[in-house]
């Protein structure tokens, strides 16, 4: 057993910390409102290769594992940065699990190089419920339906969907942004630093990916990885909230003392740290499970990591506001951006109620 990242991983973390703090801090994330600055995007994807961290080198990726992906999104999550990167990285994993080698070779390099963005358009559920129906056969399908709250859905060049064929079979479909019949409306969102879109598809020409019969398993795996990737943003954001709260509690004086010397705040922050410690352990484990391809533990890891990430983030974000008093609930202060992100992430890829229900099922409650 070893619970520490290696030197290379720590170096990746440090590099990203420095890069994000300088080029994409939360003030910038606020200004970009879920979008990105082309120059920074290019450096992040091309120089740092963040879109392909967990993609093999022969497909244009960095050849790292899900551990590197986790590290990266924790760092981006600290500053609410990344814009369409999260959606793109998840879409890349979907291709890795759900597309044939040939399709991967065709589609992945453009994503890992940052030339194109992509999304995996299912937002709500623990499992990839298909909200689209598909007709046709072979690799060319026509898909129709509505998808609400597709992550970066109006920005992505390539959109991946689960769709249900007339036969009842699930298919992983790829649609180009410019495809006729695809309408993407930016959604009004709780999270002010992340974009969502409501998609409407009418007989849109889609390409069916992967071997026949493989989509269900691939999409289930990707849904779990999505929840685990969310845990990275959760612990990164929660950690940042706690840091800012602690630093304020050390510097702000009331009654002649730093407010952090009062037990009310001190113990509140210790409790938040406890939740963060739990969430961090679970997230690191879940990344490792995803990295090692331990499919029998993947569901449990997804549930546990996302549940604890949600609890810790909600708590740390609320505490950051509370510790800052009145200033904490102003629009101007960044705290509410984290508070919004925390709640938004909780609703994404299966909310906590859904993950608890699934986990209880895994643990033997059947009715």
């Amino acid at each position: 057993m070893n619970f520490a990242f290696d030197e290379e991983q720590e170096a990746l973390r440090a590099t990203l910390r420095a890069f994000v703090t300088e080029h994409w801090p939360v003030a910038e994330a606020r200004r970009l409102a879920g979008g990105c600055e082309p120059l920074v995007w290019r450096r992040l994807t091309q120089e740092l290769g963040v879109a392909g961290l967990a993609i093999p080198e022969e497909l244009g990726g960095q050849g790292g594992s899900f551990l590197e992906l986790g590290i990266a999104f924790a760092e981006l999550g600290r500053e609410l940065a990344g814009g369409p990167l999260f959606a793109t990285a998840l879409a890349a994993r979907a291709l890795l699990h759900g597309a044939t080698r040939a399709e991967q070779a065709e589609l992945l390099p453009a994503l890992t190089s940052g030339a194109r963005t992509a999304t995996l358009a299912f937002a709500g559920g623990v499992a990839p419920a298909a909200r689209l129906t598909a007709s046709g056969s072979g690799s060319e399908l026509a898909v129709s339906g509505e998808v609400r709250f597709a992550l970066s859905g109006a920005d992505a060049d390539l959109l991946l969907f689960p769709a249900r064929l007339g036969s009842g079979e699930l298919a992983l479909c790829a649609v180009e942004r410019a495809a006729a019949g695809l309408d993407a409306q930016p959604a009004n969102a709780l999270d002010l630093t992340r974009r969502f879109a409501h998609l409407s598809l009418r007989e849109v020409r889609a390409r069916r990916l992967g071997a026949a019969g493989s989509a269900e398993a691939a999409l289930t795996r990707v849904a779990r990885e999505a929840a685990i990737a969310a845990s990275a943003e959760q612990i990164g954001g929660a950690e940042r909230c706690l840091e800012v709260a602690v630093s304020h509690a050390r510097e702000r004086f009331q009654f002649g003392r730093p407010i952090g010397s009062f037990q009310a705040l001190k113990h509140r922050l210790a409790d938040a740290l406890m939740l963060l410690d739990l969430a961090r352990s679970a997230a690191h484990w879940a990344w490792w499970v995803a990295a090692s391809g331990r499919s029998e533990e993947l569901a449990e890891a997804a549930h546990v990591a996302k549940l604890l990430g949600a609890e810790a983030y909600a708590r740390c974000a609320a505490d950051e506001i509370h510790v800052h008093g009145g200033m904490g609930f102003t629009w101007e202060h960044d705290a509410h951006l984290y508070y919004r992100r925390a709640r938004s992430l909780e609703a994404l890829f299966g909310d906590s109620a859904a993950h608890r229900r699934e986990l209880a099922g895994e643990l033997g409650l059947v009715t």
Partner: protein, 410 residues
């Protein structure tokens, strides 16, 4: 023990005959003016503030014409000497008629009682009537960047030059200061005294040169509050309420009235709305959400009843502000949990923007901060009700100007 009544008991959750008659009277009075909804603010709402201010002033003038402008004030001050119980019935009936008046509450419910208790006759004559008429709208100028929970650490300075105070400093969290005509201000006048002993209570014309109001936008996107900057603002000494350096004592009257009104926030209606929302979302009564919501309803119902207990104390001349402190915490807890449950029941829709439960969710953190943080409220209750000792304060006797201060911004 033999002579006991089965029916008539003094503990009674219904109006007494006298209260029922009073309720009928004011309901009849308000009936011609009743309207479906209020233009005033709901908690943290995003209504048109300027219109709401206009509306509140106009209605206040109407009330004044009816002789009901400030009915809780004593007759000598132009009020009707309502009992605390009657004041609550009045408030309930105003709300029922769509006529609440939160925009003017600083003048009517906080400053009014303060002036009545502490101001000179000249000051009362000058300010009470215009306040009651809605001609003068007030804002509170207490909190500062460096003086939140520790309000007595305020550092806005007032220096007397002849018979005029020269005021410099910054205030925060002033509700509706951008619409107010006048403000009531706590300023440090004796910095060489311990912090509680060097504060005076001044009335300031908000149109004085050197007063600058900047709106503070809350995380909900709403704007209730303002920052107010004072640069060499001149305030005649005749506008000082009470003795020099007695401001802290006077402010406690004001704050007790604030806490009472905040403590009476009754969250029963929002919890009923929550159940309607859960029902509409098809939430099962066996579910985790339903269980949480049911416990919440019990809290909300009990808070409603606690309000009655606070009133009983008031009516007996006791001071219920420590109970009110805990009611404020409980109300914040109920509203915060209701928001969370409501949003959870919304499922995927929680990702979207807007909607009642999201708005409440964004508003929730402020409930634990505004009007005194939960932590301060717990101290008040623990010390005043339970008799637990204060924390040792080594700075009690230290002159204000020698107090340690941190480096942090507010």
């Amino acid at each position: 023990m033999s002579q006991r009544r089965t029916e008539q008991t003094s503990l009674d959750f219904e109006d007494s005959p006298a209260d029922a008659a009073f309720r009928a009277e004011v309901r009849a009075l308000l009936a011609p003016h009743a309207r479906a909804s209020t233009l005033g603010l709901d908690a943290g709402g995003l209504h048109d503030l300027a219109a709401a201010v206009q509306d509140a002033r106009a209605w206040q003038r109407t009330l004044h014409g009816l002789g009901w402008a400030a009915p809780s004030w004593p007759r000598a001050a132009g009020g009707r000497d309502l009992t605390p119980g009657q004041s609550v019935i009045w408030g309930q009936e105003c709300a029922r008629a769509g006529r609440s008046r939160s925009m003017l509450t600083a003048g009517l419910d906080m400053l009014g009682p303060t002036l009545i208790a502490h101001a000179s006759d000249t000051q009362k004559l000058r300010f009470l009537e215009p306040t009651a008429r809605g001609d003068v709208m007030w804002c509170q100028l207490f909190s500062e960047p460096g003086a939140g929970s520790d309000l007595a650490a305020l550092s806005t300075r007032a220096v007397l030059e002849g018979d005029t105070w020269l005021v410099n400093g910054q205030k925060l969290w002033s509700s509706f200061a951008n619409y107010a005509d006048w403000g009531f201000l706590l300023a440090r006048t004796e910095p060489n005294q311990p912090k509680h002993a060097g504060i005076s209570f001044l009335l300031v014309d908000m149109r004085s040169p050197g007063v600058e109001v900047r709106p503070l936008v809350e995380m909900t996107g709403g704007n209730h509050f303002n920052e107010v900057f004072f640069t060499d603002v001149r305030v005649p000494d005749a506008q000082r309420v009470g003795a020099r350096a007695a401001g802290w004592t006077i402010a406690r009257t004001t704050l007790a009235n604030e806490r009472l009104s905040i403590g009476q926030m009754a969250p029963l209606e929002p919890v009923r709305r929550l159940f309607a929302h859960l029902a509409a979302r098809g939430v099962s009564r066996d579910s985790a959400l339903a269980a949480e919501a049911a416990q919440l309803y019990a809290w909300a119902k009990a808070l409603d009843l606690l309000g009655a207990r606070v009133l009983t104390k008031l009516a007996r001349g006791e001071n219920p502000s420590a109970e009110a402190a805990l009611m404020k915490n409980a109300a914040g807890e109920v509203l915060g949990r209701a928001a969370r449950i409501g949003l959870e029941a919304s499922g995927e829709d929680a990702l979207g923007g807007g909607g009642e439960w999201q708005h409440r969710y964004l508003y929730a953190p402020s409930l634990h901060i505004g009007g005194g943080t939960d932590d301060v409220m717990k101290n008040v209750a623990a010390e005043q009700v339970l008799g637990l000792p204060r924390e040792p304060d080594p700075w009690k006797a230290t002159p204000f100007e020698q107090l340690p201060r941190g480096a942090a911004k507010p």
